[in-house]
Amino acid sequence: AQTVTQSQPEMSVQEAETVTLSCTYDTSENNYYLFWYKQPPSRQMILVIRQEAYKQQNATENRFSVNFQKAAKSFSLKISDSQLGDTAMYFCAFMKHASNDYKLSFGAGTTVTVRA
């Protein structure tokens, strides 16, 4: 079974500054996907960024980037130039790389508050 650990329950950041969220996971799989999802008060889970384990290059999406360390089983998310709209709960998630496996295993989440 896969476990995903987010050790920071809450983070606070000043608008325009940078914040980094940590995530570690435990798996015996070699091929898998890692995700960061954002859940604002509207409740909808929104995909922020996705990383395929066989790709060494870290994924980036505009102001969001990851630091993927496969050997250390670490997958941190950096939010640059934080905006008020980034305030939300952020979840790290794991999925096996298998055509018949659609299960996402989530961490407990990190609440990010961006201060004006």
């Binding site: 995903v4 996907y33 995700f35 999802y37 509207s42 409740r43 909808q44 889970m45 929104i46 995909l47 996705r50 979840f91 998630a93 790389h97 298998a98 055509s99 018949n100 496996d101 659609y102 299960k103 996402l104 295993s105 989530f106 961490g107 407990a108 989440g109």
Partner: protein
């Protein structure tokens, strides 16, 4: 292009009752999965449906059952409700393997 839609938005039930939640996947998606998210926690996988069959199941009792229809929409049924079933229930859909899941806004179930 409509995303994943869930109904109802909120629901209040009494212990022992039964509930049915509904989900329509994003256009072009044929696989639907359900997650339970307790307050302040990450979502937990309940099960996944593809081609009208349950293909994967998480660690949930048989009180949780589901169905997928020919148009790919899905229902989640929970029997003999317990107070601990109070949670946000999220539906997610997906198209081809490797593509990310798309989530709906969820149904907030309160059991009193």
């Amino acid at each position: 292009d409509a995303g994943v839609t869930q109904s109802p938005t909120h629901l209040i039930k009494t212990r022992g009752q039964q509930v049915t939640l509904r989900c329509s996947p994003k256009s072009g998606h044929d696989t639907v999965s359900w997650y339970q998210q307790a307050l302040g926690q990450g979502p937990q996988f309940i099960f996944q449906y593809y081609e009208e069959e349950e293909r994967q199941r998480g660690n949930f009792p048989d009180r949780f059952s589901g169905h997928q229809f020919p148009n790919y929409s899905s229902e989640l049924n929970v029997n003999a409700l317990l107070l601990g079933d109070s949670a946000l229930y999220l539906c997610a859909s997906r198209g081809q393997p490797g593509s990310p899941l798309h989530f709906g806004n969820g149904t907030r179930l309160t059991v009193t």
